[in-house]
């Protein structure tokens, strides 16, 4: 579909995200050093450089529907090498939060993993790798993923069946509840 730039409604959102991330979008001169060093770029549908440019244009919809914002590993290689110090991981992260609010999710499994992880924290106060992987495998339909490692892990006592839990679980839960009620930090 034809894209009419000056009718784009994402500009305000993009500007807000950029401000929160302390990024001046106009500084990006599209050199591509970010994309060149990004370990995940091979799987991105939009290069990190293109995310910055789309935000500068105000096309947040394309950004929020992209896979790249979900696949970003927050490794910070891009910003470490960026000539203009543009905090791309922050742009990715904040775009991802906005995408979630609007129900966009181009890489379902990443969201699923994070959701389950968050719930194990709510449940036990600590992460539970076995439970996490188990529920994730069911939820993602990848029942056999990493299953070959399980007997070995048990045999070598790498994981144990018992749970590690926080005593004051209510404290952790109340912290999470308060943060969720307050929404994402704006």
């Amino acid at each position: 579909m034809e894209k009419i730039l000056n009718r784009d409604e994402g500009r305000l959102l993009a500007e807000r995200i950029a401000k929160e991330a302390d990024v001046k979008l106009h500084e990006c001169y599209q050199c591509g050093k970010c994309s060149a060093g990004c370990p995940m770029a091979g799987s991105f549908d939009l290069m990190p450089r293109q995310i910055v440019h789309l935000m500068h244009l105000g096309d947040m919809e394309t950004v929020m529907k992209s896979k790249s914002i979900w696949l970003c590993a927050s490794c910070h290689t891009c910003v470490e090498r960026c000539p203009h110090d543009i905090d791309i991981p922050a742009l990715m992260e904040k775009s991802r939060m906005e995408a979630q609010k609007r129900g966009y999710c181009a890489v379902r499994n990443v969201k699923l993993f994070n959701d389950i992880f968050t719930e194990t924290i709510r449940g036990f106060g600590k992460s539970q790798e076995v439970i996490l992987e188990g529920i994730y495998n069911v939820g993602s339909g990848r029942l056999l993923q990493d299953i070959n490692h399980v007997p070995e892990m048990l045999q070598k006592e790498i994981v144990r069946p018992e749970l590690n839990q926080v005593r004051n679980k209510d404290h952790v839960r109340s912290i999470m509840k308060k943060c969720e009620e307050g929404g994402a930090l704006n």
């Binding site: 001169y29 599209q30 050199c31 591509g32 050093k33 970010c34 994309s35 060149a36 060093g37 990004c38 770029a41 091979g42 939009l46 290069m47 450089r49 293109q50 290689t77 090498r81 960026c82 000539p83 203009h84 110090d85």
Partner: protein, 659 residues
């Protein structure tokens, strides 16, 4: 009662778009002493000046205030104009309504009020102005050129050809600078040595030129027309008056260290002539490498020198000379990419080289006699990557500017590789290709025709795996990360100002910009002048540039110097200090404060009650005083004043603003 005329300039829309100029002129009419006020589109123009002259006649004006651009810009213009009127040229004040008001504000109402305040201050000050008259001082008809690269050589030749004596001070053992290191020059591909070495020879043979190589400027005093410069000659340990340049010492010296001229890609002896075509073609001894000087061993060069020119006990020599004008041509160094770019390996990989190293590799007189090989294993590279903008256009690395010559020399390098190595491939990572020069775009076209692959993107990382260098970039035109497995990587490393530029600038009393480039007086209208009159600049000390631009600027600086030296004497500014000797206590504080050594203490007859006594007081040398005002501020009894800026006038300005 003073009759002041106030003239408010629109400066096109520069002032008028932010300041209500008509309102300022109206307000001026109400100010004390103002007999006439008006506004006009361009006061500096011919009709504007005619208008002022007519107003002087018609309204019998005796002093003028002009509200316009900075006095740096047009104060001289208006003073010249006043020479043909009844008003003394120093009965003039400029209120800076452009740089200090319109350009820095957006609120029209507040800016207009500020403009009125500025005019009010100038009106208050001009009321206290007194007519001043210039005097004449003689000019020393000799020029000093600091730096013996192509800029310095060209400037010196042009000044010398006008019939004036020139001294070139060069810190290295030979003149020639960077140009003589280069192989071919874009876009015409003439051999750099073939066009620069004849100029070096011309400079050394010119009857009006004195070469002072291996020398540095130690100190500078004085002013335009009469600079006094002390030159330090570093220890050469070779008597150049005796030395014939036979070169025997070089061949027998047992110590070998890295050659600066070959950019670290070959060795040179401790006693060395930096390159075969050096001027002068006489050696110096590197005191950090020489066994005799470091460990008191060896001494071979002294034993074999047929004429006994070696002198291990050589000492630093200082000479002091007078010059009428100075040209700064201190040139550039390459940015130290090794400390700036850990992502490119910090210099761990021998096959990642700079453009200047490549120039030595491809140069027939270089360490490989022109064979392009990998420094690591001597093999001929097939796949070569050129990375542009290394150290330039990179705010993270502290350099925002474009280094200007890299796009073209990179295209030239690509052309040379494709030409010399059959079946080679060249990939050039770039952000933009900038070719603003005559024949440059065509050269770039031809490089692509030769087969160079231009990939738009900045390289993120360079590292070695096995024999190959892995270069990771993005092809931003297709939006995909790309990797090139290269045999050789050439970094188009940025120019930066020479390492000792701070010292030179400090000694000369001129300034640098944020990137350490020497600051020109005006980027458009004073591109070869500095803020200190009589001191000029040319070449890459002022900013990155290529050879054609450097040579053009050098000739321009030479013309400016000749424009001074062709006069026998020159006008001095009358805005200088004067001492009220009846009040002076002779403390001498002003003497130590004066940067121009213009004040001395003298004995004059005076009275103590009824008794006649001799008292010591300060006296200003009108030829040396530059009107800086330091003594004025330092004087404890308040007996020193600056003509045109008296304490009384300044206080009147303050009163006009505050009362």
């Amino acid at each position: 009662m003073a009759r002041i005329g106030v003239f408010i300039c629109h400066c096109g829309t520069n002032i008028a778009s932010v300041v209500d100029v008509a309102k300022v002129a109206e307000a001026a009419k109400q100010m004390s002493g103002v007999a006439y006020a008006t506004d006009y589109k361009y006061m500096c123009s011919e009709p504007g000046q005619a208008m002022i002259k007519a107003a002087i006649e018609e309204h019998h004006l005796d002093r003028i205030v002009i509200g316009s651009c900075s006095p740096r810009m047009h104060e001289l213009t208006f003073r010249k104009m006043l020479k043909s009127t009844s008003v003394n040229p120093y009965m003039l004040e400029i209120a800076n309504l452009r740089e200090q008001c319109a350009w820095v504000h957006t609120d029209r109402e507040k800016a207009t009020q500020k403009a009125i305040n500025l005019v009010q201050m100038s009106v208050a000050k001009v009321a206290g102005n007194k007519p001043l008259h210039t005097s004449m001082i003689p000019i020393t008809k000799r020029a000093l050129v600091i730096g013996g690269g192509i800029a310095g050589i060209q400037a010196a030749l042009d000044i010398a050809d006008c019939g004036f004596e020139v001294t070139i001070v060069e810190k290295e053992p030979s003149i020639g600078g960077h140009m003589v290191m280069l192989d071919k020059t874009f876009p015409t591909m003439d051999c750099s040595a073939c066009i620069s070495t004849p100029k070096m020879v011309d400079a050394s043979a010119h009857p009006n030129i004195t070469l002072k190589t291996y020398c540095e400027v130690e100190s500078v005093s004085g002013y335009i027309g009469n600079f006094e410069v002390t030159i330090k000659e570093k220890t050469k340990y070779v008597n150049h008056d005796l030395c014939t340049g036979c070169g025997l010492c070089q061949t027998k010296c047992p110590t070998k260290v890295t050659s600066e001229f070959n950019q670290g890609m070959s060795k040179r002896p401790a006693i060395y002539i930096p390159f075969a075509q050096a001027v002068p073609s006489k050696p110096v001894i590197d005191p950090n490498a020489c066994l005799k000087l470091t460990k008191d061993k060896c001494g071979i060069c002294e034993k074999i020198c047929p004429i006994g020119a070696i002198n291990y006990k050589d000492e630093v020599k200082y000479t002091t000379e007078q010059f009428g004008a100075i040209v700064v041509a201190t040139g550039y160094e390459l940015a130290d990419w090794k400390t700036m770019y850990p992502e490119y390996g910090s210099g761990r990989y021998p096959d990642v080289i700079t453009g200047l190293q490549f120039e030595r590799l491809v140069n027939a007189s270089g360490p490989t006699e022109g064979h392009i090989i990998r420094p690591s294993d001597g093999k001929e590279p097939k796949d070569v990557v050129i990375v542009k903008c290394v150290g330039s256009r990179d705010p993270k690395k502290g350099k925002t500017y474009c280094s200007r010559a890299c796009c073209m020399y990179s295209a030239k390098h690509a052309h040379q590789i494709l030409d010399k190595i059959p079946n080679s491939r060249v990939y050039i990572f770039y952000m933009d290709v900038r070719t603003p020069g005559k024949g440059y775009e065509e050269f770039y076209d031809n490089t692509r025709k030769d087969g160079a692959q231009y990939i738009r993107g900045r390289v993120s990382k360079i590292y070695q795996e096995g024999e190959k260098l892995i270069v990771k970039g993005e092809d931003s035109l297709i939006g995909r990360p790309v990797t090139v497995e290269a045999d050789l990587v050439i970094l188009a490393t940025a120019m930066e100002a020479a390492p000792n530029v701070e010292e030179v600038v400090k000694k000369l009393g001129i300034s640098m910009d944020k990137d350490r480039w020497v600051q020109e007086a005006h980027p458009k209208l004073g591109p070869v002048e500095t803020q200190t009159s009589g001191i000029f600049l040319c070449g890459t000390c002022q900013g990155p540039k290529d050879i054609p631009d450097t040579v053009a600027q050098a000739s321009a600086a030479a013309a400016k110097v000749a424009g001074i030296l062709c006069h026998d004497e020159m006008e001095t500014s009358p805005m200088i200090s004067f001492v009220d000797q009846t009040k002076c206590s002779g403390c001498g504080f002003c003497v130590t404060t004066c940067p121009y050594k213009a004040i001395s203490l003298v004995e004059v007859p005076g009275r103590d009650g009824n008794r006649k006594v001799t008292k010591t007081v300060a006296q200003v040398n009108e030829g040396l005083c530059q009107g800086c005002g330091c003594c004025n501020a330092a004087c404890r009894t308040g007996c020193i004043d600056l003509k045109g800026f008296t304490n009384d006038q300044i206080l009147k300005e303050v009163d006009a603003l505050c009362l």
